[in-house]
C-alpha cells in the first residue's frame, strides 16, 4: 500500500482579481485554466487526469469540466458536503482517498469563483442569486432544509457572513478580554506577507494597525479589515500516488493526514448553531477534529513549521489557533499580539501568501496551494527547511484540515 500513499504533485492558479473583474472568460473556463496549469506544474498531461474533486456549492460540475478538458475517462467525480470554503481540505482528502484506494490515479481538486458573473458573497441580501424584493409579510414555504433553518435567522436581518461570525467572536471577547487591536494584528501580519506575493490582490498596499482600527465597522466587532476579500479567480491541486509521483517534475508533498467534521448540533455554523454546547460556542469548533488530525499524522502543534489557516474573519483565525493547540483556550489574543504569526521572527509563520485577507478568497483552496509551495521552498515568504505544514478550511462552521509533509 505504501507506494499508493497520496501526494500533492502540482499546483496552479489563474490570475486573482477583485470580485467582478473577470468577465472575459466564464467561471468554468477559468477552472479549466487553473487545472491545466496545475497539471503542467506537475509535469503531467491533461490526459493523465482521471479524477476531479470539489466541495459544496460548486457551480462547475465535474462532468462538464471533464468534457471541457477532453478527459479520456472520468473515473472519480466527487463533491464534499461541508459548506463553502469548509470543504477545501476535505476535497483534498477525498482525492487522497481515491488515489490510495485505487479508484483513480490522478485527481485534481479545483475551485473557481467569479462573483461578478453570479452574485457577490458579501452582500447583505438573502442567500440566493435572486435580487431582494420586499417579500409578503407572511411565513413563506421553505424549499430546502437550509431555508427552513435560515427561517430562524433571516427575519432578524442575519444574512451576511460578517455578522454571523461576529457572534462567536464577540462571545470570545466577553469571556477572555480579546480586543479589536489583537484581531488587527492578524490582518496586518497577513498583509505584510502579501507584499512578496505577485499573485496577491492586496500586495503592495500597506496596512498599519491604525488603518485597521480606522476601517469602517461592518458588523461589530468586525471592521472592514477583519473580513476576507471577495475575488474572482481559480486554483487547483493535483494529487497522485507516491509511486506515480517519483518521476514527476516537482518534489512531491505528502498528505500526512486529513480530517473533516462538525461537533454536535453545528449545522450551518453561526447562522443556525445558537444551541451548540456552551463550551464550544466561542471556539472555532475544530478542537476535536484537530486532536484526531494530530493523532492520525503522528505530529503535534509543536512540529508545525508553517501554517495556512483559513481566514474568512480574523476572530475565526484566533479561535482556530486555540483549537489546534498553538496556544491555550482564551490566549489567542496575546498569542497573535506577540507576533507569533509573522513570517520573519514568528514562532508559527502563518498565511505566508497573505491569506484570504490579502492574497485572495478562493474558498481556501489557495491555502492548500500555498501549503504545497511552502514545503517545496517555492513560497514568496519561504520558511527555511519547513517540513510540516498545517492547512485548515474554515472554522466556526463544519470544517476540514490537512497536514502536509516533506520528507
Amino acid at each position: 500500500m505504501s507506494s499508493r500513499r497520496p501526494h500533492i504533485v502540482g499546483v496552479g492558479e489563474s490570475k486573482y482579481t477583485r470580485w467582478g473583474k473577470i468577465g472575459d472568460i466564464t467561471e468554468h473556463a477559468l477552472a479549466c485554466q487553473a487545472i491545466m496549469r496545475a497539471v503542467e506544474d506537475a509535469g503531467l498531461e491533461v490526459d493523465d487526469v482521471d479524477g476531479l474533486a470539489s466541495f459544496a456549492e460548486d457551480r462547475n460540475e465535474a462532468i462538464f469540466i471533464a468534457a471541457d478538458l477532453g478527459l479520456p475517462c472520468l473515473r472519480f467525480g466527487n463533491m464534499v458536503w461541508m459548506p463553502g470554503g469548509s470543504g477545501a481540505c476535505a476535497a483534498v482528502a477525498n482525492a487522497a482517498m481515491a488515489v490510495e484506494t485505487g479508484q483513480a490515479e490522478v485527481v485534481v481538486v479545483y475551485r473557481s469563483l467569479c462573483q461578478g458573473q453570479f452574485f457577490r458573497f458579501g452582500n447583505p441580501t438573502p442567500i440566493s442569486s435572486q435580487p431582494l424584493e420586499p417579500p409578503p409579510p407572511t411565513v413563506q414555504s421553505a424549499d430546502s432544509l437550509f431555508m427552513a433553518s435560515m427561517g430562524f435567522a433571516m427575519p432578524y436581518g442575519m444574512l451576511m457572513a460578517a455578522a454571523a461570525y461576529a457572534l462567536p467572536t464577540r462571545r470570545h471577547m466577553h469571556l477572555y478580554g480579546t480586543t479589536s487591536e489583537q484581531l488587527g494584528h492578524i490582518s496586518v501580519t497577513f498583509r505584510e506577507h502579501s507584499h512578496n506575493n505577485p499573485r496577491a490582490v492586496m500586495g503592495g498596499r500597506p496596512m498599519t494597525l491604525d488603518d485597521h482600527q480606522s476601517s469602517p465597522m461592518i458588523a461589530d466587532p468586525h471592521r472592514l479589515f477583519d473580513c476576507c476579500l471577495e475575488n474572482d479567480g481559480a486554483c487547483a491541486v493535483v494529487v497522485t500516488s507516491e509511486e506515480r509521483a517519483r518521476d514527476l517534475a516537482k518534489r512531491p508533498i505528502e498528505i500526512l493526514a486529513t480530517e473533516q467534521g462538525a461537533p454536535k448540533g453545528y449545522a450551518f455554523g453561526p447562522f443556525t448553531n445558537a444551541n451548540v454546547a456552551d463550551e464550544i460556542y466561542a471556539t472555532g469548533a475544530c478542537e476535536e477534529m484537530a486532536n484526531r488530525l494530530w493523532a492520525k499524522a503522528g505530529v503535534g502543534p509543536k512540529d508545525v513549521d508553517v501554517a495556512q489557516i483559513y481566514d474568512h474573519f480574523t476572530g475565526c483565525v484566533l479561535m482556530q489557533l486555540e483549537d489546534y493547540g498553538f496556544c491555550k483556550r482564551g490566549e489567542g489574543g496575546p498569542f497573535v499580539e506577540s507576533g507569533a504569526l509573522a513570517w520573519k521572527g514568528g514562532s508559527l509563520p502563518t498565511n505566508t501568501h497573505g491569506g484570504s485577507l490579502s492574497e485572495a478568497y478562493i474558498h481556501g483552496l489557495n491555502h492548500v496551494v500555498e501549503g504545497t509551495r511552502s514545503l517545496r521552498g517555492e513560497s514568496s515568504c519561504p520558511v527555511d527547511d519547513a517540513e510540516v505544514c498545517l492547512v485548515t478550511s474554515a472554522a466556526c462552521v463544519p470544517s476540514s484540515a490537512v497536514i502536509l509533509g516533506r520528507k
Binding site: P137, M150, Y156, G157, M217, D220
Partner: protein
C-alpha cells in the same frame, strides 16, 4: 398593531412543516420551545427527531419571554430599504427553556449600550396581521 422597529421589507421567515408550528405560535404572540415528550429535552430550531433520545414525539412549551443576552453583533449595513442602522442581532438565552438560546434582535436601546449578560424580555413586532416577529428589549 404593535410598535414597529423594522421596515416592511425585512425578509420573512421561511418554514417547513416541522418549523411552521413555532411561527403559528408566534403569530399569537406566544414564545415557545419544542420539547421532547419522551425525555423532556428542549430544542430550537424545531427538529423532527429529538437529538438526545431520537423520539419523534414532541410538544410546545410556552416560555416567560424573559432572557439574557449571550452574544450579539451590531450590524452597520441595512438589509431592507429604509432600515435604520446600526441594528443589533443577538443570541438570547431563554429563561425556563432548558438552556435554549435563540437568534433575535435587541431593540429599544442604543446599539452601543448593549452588553453580554443584559436581561431582556420579548417584544412582539406585528409585521402584518399574519406575521409577528419576536424581538427583545432590556428589562
Amino acid at each position: 398593531m404593535s410598535e414597529r422597529f423594522f421596515p416592511d421589507g425585512m425578509p420573512s421567515p421561511t418554514a417547513d412543516t416541522t418549523t411552521l408550528p413555532w411561527w403559528e405560535a408566534a403569530s399569537e404572540h406566544r414564545l415557545v420551545v419544542q420539547r421532547c415528550t419522551a425525555c423532556q429535552h428542549t430544542r430550537h430550531p424545531p427538529m423532527p427527531i429529538c437529538p438526545e433520545c431520537r423520539s419523534s414525539e414532541a410538544d410546545w412549551q410556552e416560555l416567560s419571554g424573559r432572557g439574557e443576552i449571550y452574544t450579539y453583533t451590531i450590524v452597520h449595513r441595512p438589509i431592507a430599504a429604509d432600515q435604520e442602522v446600526p441594528f443589533v442581532i443577538a443570541i438570547v438565552a431563554l429563561e425556563g427553556s432548558g438552556g435554549i438560546r435563540m437568534m433575535t434582535n435587541v431593540v429599544g436601546i442604543a446599539a452601543d449600550q448593549v452588553r453580554v449578560g443584559m436581561p431582556v424580555e420579548v417584544v412582539w413586532e406585528d409585521m402584518s396581521k399574519d406575521l409577528a416577529i419576536p424581538r427583545f428589549r432590556p428589562i
